[in-house]
């Protein structure tokens, strides 16, 4: 493994591939700006999370095997999604014949921001982003990958995304009333418990609006897709960008 230019396998969530290619592009360009050698296995499809969360983890064996075969030989696997990364680490069905590969993937798969802070040890990013930014703490990244301290726990406060963004020139990190409440997407929950999902999304948007947020950002397009869907239906002014897009735009 070449520490100077690690070979990163880019893992782009299926809905990002289909609906938000700009996030995939931003992630790729950003990793390259930090000196990574990035490859994108063309055969990739989906991590299987929607099926597993709906109660069909046992039926995701095919998806899991496919993922492992595509990604097992990279130094690192990086995805612009906390929930997909968490799923690969914790909810792939146990495959006896691929035990070693599964363990290795568990240890080398990262969500984008934690890859930047923990592995590349990125510090003092130089760049401009003169906007009032509101951070949405997507739950799987927040409490699954511990990308930031949780408001309900007693510990030293930290936030990996904030540490990357806060030094950008002109960026104002707006404090919310509820810093890490769920947006209500939850995968199939968004349609099976539609009324609740909507209410939770609206409440998150209200919180950002009440704190003058111009750009709502986060590490998971699934949450953003849900919030953006409500915002555009209701004609709300707030704009949406994935963290990768902000960083990629700000850094030349």
């Amino acid at each position: 493994m070449n520490l100077k230019a690690p070979h990163v396998g880019l893992f782009i969530p299926c809905y990002v591939d289909q609906f938000y290619p700009s996030v995939g592009i931003a992630t790729l360009q950003l990793l390259e700006k930090f000196g990574c050698r990035v490859s994108y296995p063309l055969g990739q499809t989906c991590c299987g999370q929607p099926m597993a969360n709906a109660g069909y983890e046992r039926d995701t064996e095919g998806t899991a095997r496919h993922f492992i075969s595509l990604f097992k030989d990279f130094d690192y696997i990086v995805a612009p999604s906390g929930s997909c990364v968490l799923h690969v680490k914790e909810h792939f069905p146990k495959l006896q014949d691929l035990e070693t590969e599964q363990h290795e993937i568990h240890d080398k798969i990262f969500e984008l921001t934690e890859f930047l802070t923990d592995i590349l040890k990125v510090k003092d990013i130089q760049g401009k982003f003169p906007h009032k930014v509101g951070y949405h703490a997507s739950c799987h990244g927040q409490r699954g990958l511990r990308l930031a301290s949780s408001s309900e726990m007693n510990g030293t406060p930290f936030n990996k995304a904030k540490s990357l963004l806060e030094n950008l020139e002109g960026l104002e990190w707006m404090t919310l009333s509820r810093t890490d409440e769920c947006c209500g997407f939850g995968g199939t929950f968004s349609v099976t418990e539609e009324a609740l999902s909507l209410r939770m999304g609206k409440d998150r948007l209200d919180d950002h609006e009440q704190h003058q947020v111009e750009i709502l950002t986060g590490g998971d397009m699934s949450c953003i897709m849900h919030l953006q869907g409500i915002a555009s239906r209701e004609g709300r002014k707030v704009k949406f960008m994935h963290l990768a897009e902000i960083l990629n735009q700000a850094i030349q």
């Binding site: 969360n53 998806t63 408001s151």
Partner: protein
């Protein structure tokens, strides 16, 4: 009614739903603030979790030890395998005492066993003495929260209720005034009750004692004036040593209401001269849950309610939407064990955000158990359609070509279909949200054009 239906109903009254959410968030916030004044908070949670895991790994040993010590202290010990037997034991004690009117302090276990209707059917007047429980009793409702039974009611509703039942001034909503009226009304009941029933917060195997925690003092007002005290407990409420109470009592009230400790923590070891104390040890599905590897740890629960206060779904749908004695996140992992079919929507009434697990004082991995129950439920009760569509989805995601084709189809379809078709009511997503805009090309297509 399924959870989604009940939740939709609850949310129709937007102002009330918002008030309910904010009130419970306020309690969660109090819990956060006080937990941060204890530097060793997370250590306490670890200790409590380990103590409870030890208990669950040798529950039979501790139960036998508890019984031996309790009997030595003059406490009478009964065992009930299910709710029916529990209720029969209570009734038989009352009949022996020739008692037809009792007072009862908060016990979710007695709710679980539906004790009140059983006793009433047998001619016993039951008065719930916790203020919140008395209120819901007057309304013929179950409690909507295990610690804050009347959290779903506004003071206007309670004022109207008390005007009707207790003849308080019409329109007087002052909580102090209403509480005082309840104090006078219930005092009379305390003074006349020969038998008082309580729950049990903790039973100590080492000493045979048990502890009852209240803020109001209603448990004690009942038992110290009565001749007979019946204490009902689930078998999982045992803790090994007296000193373990230090850990649990430091965590309980702080987690439940954000107070440093409940006002009264009464330790019952021996009856007063001439009086009786009975403890009823109840199984009612607990040994079955103990046998379930993935769900055993749900029995660590000390019934603090913190998971309900933090749950964004509970706060916006209310306790009644779960249709179970214990609602909220913990209820959603306990109830399917009792009746998987009846409670099959509960583990899906969650986004798996994980906040419940973070606030649980005994570190139950609630959100992981919710995920595991989903796997169990689809094995037995997955609607045929959903199972098929999931297999199909796996088929698509297993094959890059199938994925590409279906992705293209989906994106093309969304571009060309009229809005009315996309936003048809059957498509729930579209009720309140727009779909994302469809880009010209997928990331894959861009990559192939620009990078290969």
């Amino acid at each position: 009614m399924s959870h989604p239906q009940a939740a939709t109903e609850f949310l129709k009254d937007q102002a009330k739903a918002k008030w309910h959410d904010e009130t419970l968030w306020f309690v969660r916030d109090k819990r956060d603030r006080i937990s941060k004044t204890i530097p060793e908070w997370e250590d306490l949670r670890n200790l409590a979790s380990q103590i409870k895991e030890n208990v669950l790994s040798k529950l039979d040993v501790y139960l036998e030890e508890y019984e031996k010590k309790a009997l030595q202290n003059g406490i009478q010990v009964h065992w009930a395998k299910d709710a029916e037997e529990h209720n029969q034991i209570v009734l038989s004690i009352l009949q022996k005492q020739q008692c037809t009117a009792i007072v009862k302090s908060k016990s979710i276990l007695t709710e679980e066993c539906h004790l009140n209707p059983y006793l009433e059917k047998n001619g016993i007047e039951v008065v719930d003495t916790d203020l919140g429980e008395r209120i819901v009793q007057f309304l013929n409702q179950p409690p909507s929260h295990i610690v804050l039974p009347a959290i779903h009611l506004k003071k206007g509703e309670i004022s109207e209720l008390f005007h009707e039942k207790l003849h308080t001034e019409k329109g007087n909503e002052d909580p102090a005034y209403l509480t005082h009226a309840a104090r006078l009304h219930l005092r009379e009941k305390f003074l006349n009750a020969k038998v008082a029933i309580t729950g049990v917060n903790f039973a100590v195997a080492e000493t045979g004692e048990f502890v009852v925690c209240t803020n109001e003092g209603n448990a004690d007002m009942g038992v110290h004036l009565a001749d007979v005290h019946i204490a009902c407990m689930g078998i999982e409420k045992i803790i090994p040593r007296r000193k373990d109470l230090g850990v649990f009592l430091r965590l309980l009230a702080r987690s439940a209401t954000g107070q440093p400790v409940t006002n009264y923590n009464s330790h019952f070891r021996s009856p007063s001269a001439g009086k009786e104390i009975h403890v009823i040890l109840v199984d009612n599905g607990r040994t079955a849950q103990l046998a379930r590897d993935k769900f055993r740890n749900s029995l660590k629960c000390i019934r603090c309610g913190a998971c309900m206060n933090t749950c964004p779904i509970y706060r916006r749908s209310g306790g009644f939407s779960y249709g179970s004695t214990v609602p909220g996140p913990i209820g959603s992992i306990l109830s399917p064990g009792l009746d998987m079919k009846k409670y099959s929507t509960l583990p899906f009434a969650s986004t798996l955000c994980g906040s419940c697990s973070d606030v649980c004082p005994v570190k139950i991995n609630i959100h992981e158990q919710l995920y595991e129950w989903r796997q169990e439920i689809t094995k037995t009760h997955g609607e045929l359609g959903k199972g098929l569509s999931m297999k199909l989805a796996n088929g698509i995601f297993k094959s890059p070509l199938a994925y590409k084709i279906s992705g293209n189809l989906m994106r093309t379809a969304l571009k060309t279909l009229p809005k009315s078709l996309i936003y048809h009511p059957i498509n729930s997503w579209g009720k309140g949200r727009n779909l994302p805009e469809t880009p010209q090309e997928s990331f894959k297509e861009w990559y192939q054009k620009n990078r290969k």
